[in-house]
Symmetry: C2
Subunit: 115 residues, 2 copies
């Protein structure tokens, strides 16, 4: 299930309009109309993106039937970010170790040169 | 174009098998056969995932026609991670500010209680 949640999160982030919506919401709550304003797409299209973001847990919506303000939910973003960081770090650690080994070999070779 | 690259990265990450492949590659290079081993899917299916990961720039492949070892490329992961972190932080900062305001109000009210 965690894998599925993570897939939903990444799929939701794989669209420039949805990322722009999340970027806007990171500055505060907004209604569908406010979110649609900066985009050259219809309110219907924005609503579709919002439904997908809501299903992925990246936004929640207020109960007021008329306005239903959208707000960012950061928990899935944290999980997604943690996933990326972990493997980036494994890879970097591996390179750091290789780098150290190369330096050790180079120092040894230099030492031999002086003999 | 940056947006497109970011969409490609997130779309590539939106699949548990592809994430497992990247996780495996974070420990070192591997051939298609080595990558297919832990999964109950065909080498053809793994190859398809690898093509998508390569197109997204998340892996590169060696030139040796027979083995073509795969290796992780972390640059797109860093861009993706930076994107997430940025908006998480904006949102957190916003909450921190709200929290400070609430504390200021509470302190003021407490002060008034003592009067």
């Amino acid at each position: 299930m965690t894998d599925d949640q993570l897939s939903l999160t990444f799929a939701a982030l794989a669209d420039p309009t949805r990322r722009a919506i999340l970027a806007r919401l990171s500055t505060g709550e907004a209604t569908v109309n406010e979110l649609a304003e900066p985009f050259s797409i219809s309110i219907q299209a924005v609503s579709k993106h919002l439904k997908l973001l809501e299903r992925a847990g990246l936004i929640s919506r207020g109960r007021d039937a008329q306005w239903r303000p959208c707000r960012l939910e950061t928990a899935p973003l944290e999980t997604a970010s943690d996933w990326i960081q972990r493997y980036r770090e494994d890879w970097r650690d591996r390179f750091d170790r290789l780098d150290q080994e190369i330096q050790t070999i180079q120092r040894r070779e230099k030492g031999e040169d002086h003999e």
